[in-house]
Symmetry: C2
């Protein structure tokens, strides 16, 4: 299936955009007319540039305010169309998008609309051009794809067809059901996702669309309908997004391609599942050239976390880990790399033995440079990731050393896929001289509950898509909470079994600690690591006794707590004494505490305990931590 | 009238907020409960701090989900309230805000709500505390102030009254008419403005409120109703705004105070106007202590513009002005300051003789450091401005030199008020050795049409309020347009007679030229100066002949123009040859062209011609300029 993207979706000059689009291996573009109008480049020059880059100009868009107009306006529009047809011929572009009329002059008369579109199709036919008619969600009379389809059917002209756009359908809560019956009259498909927002449809459309898999629409269901209509491409993106407009276009173009590959893969998967009972689906799979990535493997938690450090930090971070109840577990046979363990948690301190660790340290100082994710199928995970445009990471390994299937996540942290058959230590047995386990319980920390990743605003959608497409995680609803210097937006991502949890945090202000840390990390950095305890009160009491410093919580917080939840007074006093925060949802309770940030670096640790099926991350308590830290700084 | 602000309106820790609030000379605060809950400061400490700063704690807010609940929940809420009463007593705070219930458990039963609020008022009375009941726009059953008022009347208890908030009224398109009849039961008034937005009322409320005079609500009409109710304070601000949360709080607190002073002044003005026919209004004026600023004087255009330059820039900018058809008009008697003139335009190049020019040059390089605004009452203008919290600017003047009433605008550009009786040259006759005018027409530039000011996002509302409150300008609807690297938001501000026009531009992206210039200027800088010509085609043709460089406009723009407007083909070709942009509204036409930026500095010139009553600024054409400039850079 040919893949395409509208030029409006990216930042930069038209020339820059084309280069980014070609570099991300698209087959073609939708030319957004203002991009051409403002370019100091003739149609012939643009055509040559596209040809040189291997890009087709699939669609010229938009042609506005055409159908259902009074006669005089209609005639002027036909003249206008002829000028645009001249341009399309010069560009070598075969198809024009006519979006439904928004003019206050438009008449509510589908028969008139049909008559006028027939005249336009007739003129297009003389030049062997085609017209696609699309319902704009804010069209004056034609808002739904079915209304546009009704008019296209009335016209019944070979040079007039239907264009559908998932945004216009879902933003009006309309259903794509029935697009499958449009058949060969479906001339073009535009796919857009978006977050659900209580916003005017026009503002929503012009500022907040994003790529399939980044938002909350049923884009897979929509595109399945198109494929079932027999549509075989181009599959195209027309994305108006304020952040994308302001982000270097190479990065956004990679996300764009990833979103289409993911979308095709999801639809293929659905058709395959239907295939046994559904001959049509099986046949479509034969014919449609849908992208076929390997399935998402099941992940089973975080196998290890690796920090990039220098010698001094190896010492002080090692000391902090010991304070947290970790044991020194071993040393790499040939490199300055050490291992710490507690319960099922493994932490590696890498004195920059690998290039990835070196690079991360040089950007961010001591910080997480790599994660290991546990899975039954590491090679499958790698193949899935590279099929979806992740770069493979080849660690420099010595002779006979363990080699892991690994990728570079957006922004540079390395993700290793670790065979769960190796167990907790198997991975390290070959390369490390391991100490014997002494059976000490440490502080009772058992596993990594979640990782929180701090992102600059231009990285959030990239990471949502990476988590969804490459790792198979779903996004919970985003929450916003207040830091003393601005709002933070937080999105939990996890698999259905809740075995892998990542929290994507973004500061909406430039003045918060989190924003500064995200900036300092080059846009993406692990902000905190949450360790799970089976008895958090006991763990914290033990750790406080060793002198570990937690972020102090205001007494006022504990005075207020019993007004929010029905809690035993003695329990509240234990929380107060330990400085543990509390949250409750319909599913269960959550206890958590934060350590002070590690020696001025951007990261810290959280200790958590989930009771029953609590599924969140205590976001409601984050302001108590952030306010406390700010007060510390100001004193 | 005592003035107050909710702590949620500002950034920072609670301690920081109190200091900023006191520094801006507020009399009190609304304590937003989470600010206290998260503060590591006891109630007694907070009380002492407020007393030390001369701040009352006027209101404790919010107490949620109280009225109209099933019995068990009601009883728990009473217990909760008693805990908060304890806290209020410790704080010395006399009034609690109860906002209407949003709980799904709330019952649609005003009689029950009244009964429960009576019980709460009764308990408050025992401690000599008071309860104010406020309708939240998204309350489950009580959304409008009249519904809340109905319940307060049913209760009829001396310790229960009504709280009104302009946001909750206007966001539901409800009217404040009738608040005047509430009388002494009006316990507290919260004033918020907001831009009109097609957004969910909750998101709108929580992220986009702003100070009176910064938005589009009829805040004056609302507050007039409160004053007519006999309300005598506190006048308070409760503003949830994402930008304010992320901006240094001293700056925002100054805006907050300015907004209240302006609001009081506007209501006073209305009552004065009504006073002759309206005895009640006259009496209120006697009693109410409404702030009384001098009226806004009429402005009559820009008298002069002053650039801060060094010697080299004085030369090259002088050369550019000559190219633009300006004449050298004279030299300051004692300072390195020169004057250029054309038509009614006067431009001063100041080689940093004054401290303001020196400071501006050191921040921004060559740039506008001062404006002169023509008015019949310069001293009145100064008094108005200082009454509304503008800092007076005292220029260092030599013996016998002209001294102007002057202020510092937000961000540092100096605004001088120039007596229009001085005519075009009178201002300069004393201090300058003037050349005789040679009568040459120059390029036919006659006046300054407008100034465009480039602002960082945290400066926009500040400037809207400064323009409205200090200069008496009104805001037109904001427009957004696309730079190749992000969106620009532009707001025209002008007086009713259209004699003074300022355009406030803000980049929504950090990567546009405009954003970079605004950053480089320290947040506020004059971005371009638009000169009016009576015959722009002639002016541009003459200037091009002198070799002046304009931003080149794409041929495609002119190919497209006849499809947008009915224009004579020969006229379009003249526009193309001259590189002039064209816009048309229902009121008239607009022709304009942009010079290339001055030697890498952040500013440039625009040449414009308004035909008939065109009232905009050609925003639709800005993308053609910006795309062209970006292409230039990339080649």
């Amino acid at each position: 299936m040919r893949r395409s993207i509208a030029t409006v979706s990216l930042s930069g000059t038209l020339r820059d955009k084309l280069q980014a689009i070609a570099a991300a291996r698209f087959d073609g573009i939708e030319l957004f007319e203002p991009d051409f109008t403002n370019a100091r480049m003739s149609a012939a020059e643009l055509r040559t540039q596209c040809e040189d880059l291997g890009l087709r100009i699939e669609l010229f868009q938009p042609f506005r305010d055409f159908e259902g107009m009074p006669q005089a306006a209609f005639e002027r529009s036909l003249e206008r169309a002829e000028k645009k047809f001249d341009l399309m011929e010069a560009l070598g572009c075969p198809l024009m998008l006519v979006c439904s009329n928004t003019s206050p002059l438009a008449l509510p008369d589908p028969a008139l609309a049909a008559e006028q579109l027939r005249a336009l199709a007739e003129r297009a036919a003389r030049r062997n051009l085609r017209i696609g008619f699309e319902a704009l969600a804010w069209g004056r009379h034609v808002k739904l794809w079915r209304q546009a389809w009704d008019i296209v059917q009335r016209v019944d002209h070979p040079h007039l067809g239907l264009i559908v756009d998932s945004f216009h359908t879902f933003s009006l809560k309309d259903s794509p059901q029935g697009i499958a019956d449009v058949g060969e009259k479906l001339f073009f498909v535009q796919m857009a996702d978006a977050p659900l927002m209580g916003l005017d449809v026009i503002d929503w459309a012009r500022h907040h669309r994003n790529f399939p898999g980044q938002g909350q629409f049923d884009v897979v269901g929509f595109f399945e309908q198109c494929v079932r209509a027999g549509y075989s491409g181009p599959l195209s993106l027309e994305i108006f997004n304020d952040v994308f407009r302001a982000t270097p276009n190479r990065r956004i173009a990679v996300d764009a391609m990833r979103s289409l590959l993911w979308l095709e893969g999801e639809v293929r998967h659905r058709l395959e599942q239907a295939g046994a009972q559904d001959a049509a689906a099986a046949q479509l799979l034969q014919r449609q050239e849908l992208f076929d990535p390997p399935p998402v493997p099941a992940f089973n938690g975080v196998s290890f976390i690796e920090f990039a450090v220098d010698g001094a930090h190896a010492e002080s971070l090692g000391e902090l880990l010991r304070q947290l109840g970790f044991q020194f577990a071993g040393r790499h046979r040939s490199k300055a790399v050490t291992l710490f363990r507690q319960g099922g948690i493994r932490i590696v301190l890498n004195q920059q033995a690998t290039s990835a660790a070196r690079e991360r340290f040089s950007v961010q100082g001591p910080s997480v440079c790599a994660l290991g994710l546990r899975t039954g199928d590491p090679v499958g995970a790698l193949n899935r990731a590279t099929a979806l445009q992740s770069a493979r990471y080849e660690a420099p390994t010595g002779a006979g050393e363990q080699r892991l299937p690994s990728i570079v996540s957006p922004g540079g942290v390395i993700v290793h896929f670790v065979d769960e058959a190796l167990g907790e230590n198997g991975l390290f047995e070959k390369d490390f001289i391991l100490e014997a386990e002494d059976g000490a319980a440490g502080a009772g920390l058992q596993a990594i509950d979640h990782l929180a990743i701090g992102l600059t605003p231009d990285r959030l959608d990239t990471w949502v898509l990476f988590c969804r497409a490459v790792l198979g995680l779903d996004a919970a609803d985003a929450v916003k909470f207040a830091d003393p210097f601005g709002l933070i937006r937080s999105t939990g991502m996890s698999d259905a079994a809740r075995r892998l949890r990542l929290v994507l945090n973004m500061s909406m202000s430039e003045r918060t600690r989190m924003a500064q840390a995200a900036q300092a990390s080059g846009g993406v950095g692990v902000q905190h690591i949450a360790f799970a305890s089976g008895d958090l009160l006991a763990s914290v009491e033990r750790l406080k006794a060793t002198g570990l410093r937690f972020v102090p919580i205001s007494d006022n917080y504990y005075d207020d707590l019993p007004t929010r939840f029905e809690l035993d007074a003695a329990f509240v006093e234990r929380l107060r004494a330990a400085g543990i925060l509390f949250d409750r949802s319909a599913q269960g309770d959550y206890l958590h505490a934060y350590t002070e940030p590690y020696a001025g670096a951007g990261f810290f640790f959280e200790l958590v305990q989930r009771l029953d099926d609590y599924d969140g991350y205590g976001a409601v308590n984050a302001p108590a931590r952030m306010a406390s830290q700010a007060q510390e700084e100001r004193q």
